[in-house]
Each structure stands twice: as structure tokens, then as C-alpha cells.
Symmetry: C2
Subunit: 212 residues, 2 copies
């Protein structure tokens, strides 16, 4: 789907980006308690400008989520010299990246507000926050991982019928209960060492399950 055309059509000025960064910071600090006044004060701009630029509070939130999403576009996978080591390295790097993003304060805050918003849903609006996060979260991860999985199958390193199923299993092995626990406020450390270890373990398990 090329719905991104309309999104990228909204060219943001530097000033507006600063405002969105301020909103992002507030979202991380105070969660959904973010008010228009607080954003205006933090960004040293007037509320009038906020409403002119983003329409209303929902528009500001949407723009903020999209702004963050636009900053974390993933890096592509190198296609040359694809052997087992490359597959393992790719999967491990992928899993580690994902865990790092997932356990970051920004991701937690954004997912929280999106989940909240998905609850009080007014069907009929164009793009809701939940959809945006979904699109730039799990779905984006699936799109980025798909070529890796297909390359692995082409190279005879993996065996699966549906790419989707394989991806979702990998997702489960990587994320496990980490995300839901973080979203529910369980404060537990996920240091760099643990991330690396989990990435290796998930990759290893995945290879066992999907070995030809």
C-alpha cells in the first residue's frame, strides 16, 4: 500500500519538528497526561500555532507518532554472500534491534498512548493511532524480516510454508512477554547483555524449529 504518499505530503518545518520532539518528550515523561498547554510551554510556542498546524489534540498526537515512526526506518539487509553465518547474523541483529526499540522508553510510551486510544475508538476517522503504531511496529518488522526469511529459504537454510507464520513464530521467540510486561508497568531491567543473549537464543531456537 502506498498510503504513505499522503503522509509524506505534509512537509514539516524545522519549527514543527521541534514542537513534535517536545511532544514526544512529554509523552515519554507524562504519558497520556500530555496537555496542549504543556506542549506549548515545553516547545515555547503558542497554542494557536499548535491548533493551526495540527488541527486538534488528536492531530498533534497522530503527527507525533508519525514523526517518531519516520525516524526509525529500518536498515535493509545486504543480499550478497548469503550463507548460514549471514542468516544467523541477520536474525540476531534483527532480534536485538527489535528488543532495543521495544524496551525503549519512547516505544513504551507510544504504544501506551496508542493502546489507550484504540480503546476509546471512534470508527470512521481516517487513520487511528493504533493503526499507525501497528503499521510501524509489528507490520514493519514483518516486512523487513520477510526478505531475510525468503533468502534463507532460497539458500536451503530454512524450511517453511507461509512466511507469515514463520515471522510470527520468530516474533514470539524474540518478544515473549517482554512487551506486555513493560506496557503494564513491570519495571524490569533489559540491559544490553540480556538483549544480546535473548537475540542469540531466539535465533537459535528459530533455526531449530525451521531447519530443513
Amino acid at each position: 500500500m502506498k498510503a504513505e504518499l499522503e503522509i509524506s505530503e505534509t512537509a514539516l518545518t524545522e519549527r514543527q519538528k521541534d514542537v513534535l520532539d517536545a511532544a514526544l518528550a512529554l509523552l515519554v515523561e507524562a504519558g497520556d497526561k500530555l496537555t496542549m498547554t504543556s506542549v506549548a510551554r515545553r516547545a515555547s510556542c503558542s497554542k494557536e500555532s499548535l491548533y493551526k498546524w495540527f488541527g486538534d489534540r488528536d492531530g498533534l498526537l497522530t503527527a507525533t507518532v508519525q514523526w517518531q515512526a519516520s525516524k526509525v526506518r529500518g536498515v535493509p539487509v545486504s543480499r550478497n554472500a548469503f550463507d548460514r553465518d549471514a542468516l544467523v547474523a541477520g536474525l540476531e541483529r534483527f532480534a536485538a534491534d527489535w528488543l532495543r526499540v521495544l524496551s525503549g522508553k519512547i516505544s513504551v510510551a507510544l504504544n501506551r498512548v496508542a493502546v489507550t486510544h484504540a480503546g476509546t475508538d471512534k470508527h470512521g476517522l481516517g487513520r487511528d493511532l493504533g493503526g499507525i503504531v501497528l503499521e510501524n511496529g509489528p507490520f514493519a518488522m514483518a516486512r523487513r524480516l520477510e526478505p531475510v526469511l525468503l533468502l534463507g529459504r532460497e539458500a536451503g537454510l530454512l524450511k517453511f510454508e507461509q512466511t507469515d507464520e514463520a515471522f510470527r513464530t520468530f516474533f514470539g521467540l524474540v518478544v515473549r512477554d517482554v512487551q506486555i510486561r513493560l506496557l503494564l508497568g513491570d519495571r524490569f531491567e533489559l540491559g544490553e547483555a540480556a538483549i544480546e543473549r535473548d537475540a542469540k537464543r531466539a535465533t537459535e531456537q528459530f533455526l531449530v524449529l525451521y531447519k530443513p
Copy 2:
């Protein structure tokens, strides 16, 4: 005010249970948009009674979540005649039960409100909603699954070092991206057939990974 802080063993009258059921229904319908007035109207009780019984809005929410939690206590596992078939059946039933609960409207609504609440957190209060859901969700699942895993290991059917790690992997294999997608508002069906199939697949994969 007479401190009714003995939430742990509060005996609820039938009337209060009715009120909490009304709150639960409203939570499912309208999410966090639930207001004290709407609960009072739905339950045909006065707001004064709400405040008398539950203290404040947070108390009502907490009582509601605990009330639901008290209704879904899991069934224990039979310990006799524990062979491979019993292990497989136990895991499969467990996974299916969990998926059923997880994808239910009530669970989604409760997890939503708990996640929302975990965002606007006032550290210092006793038990927060996120903690309660965590306790009755993933943690309860872990406690219930633990004896099954230990029995499996005793019987020589499974091999693992840390029960916790094994549980979390099983969790990942069962839940995958289902919960986060539902929380984010992705409307996708998870029919009985899919649940059964997923439960079987997750169990199968788990046995492969943790076979001695």
C-alpha cells in the same frame, strides 16, 4: 472515612458485585471513557454509594479488575498418570485456554485500561492496575504452568535449566503477536479452530525445543 483498605479480603455484597459487573460491561463497551455517572446509571445505584463502597474512581477500577480476576481462577492439573500424552494434552489445553482468555473482549478491555493506567502512574500507591493485571495475567499463567513443566522434567519428557525461561518461551510461542495486535485495535478473528491449531503448533514447537 472508615478505612476500607482491606481490599485483599473484602467481602462483596451481591449488590456490589452487580455494580462491578456493570462497570465491567461498560469497560468493555466504552473503554476508559467509563465515568462514575455512567456506572451509577447502568447499575441503577447512586454515585454516593459508589464513593462509599470504592472510595474513588481508581478504587472502583481496581475493584472491577480484581472482581474479574477472581472469576477466572484456573483449574489445577491432575497429577496422576503423567506421561507424554498427558503433558501434550496439558500444554495444549493450557495454550488454548490462554488464547481464549487473551482474545476475549473482557481481557482486551482490562489490559487496555491497565496499560493506560500504567502510563499515568503515581508511584507510591499500594497496588496499581498494571500490577494487578500482571499478577493475574502472565504471572498467574507462569505459576499455573510451572508444575506442569516440572512434572514434565521429572518424567524425563522435558529438559531445561530455569523454569522461568522455559515458561517465557512457551508464552512467546503461544501468544506471539496476538495480544499486542488486539490491544492496538487490529480487528482480526481468532476463531475456535485457529485457537486449537495454534495451541497444537505452540505445544509441538515447545516440545521440539525442550526435548531431552
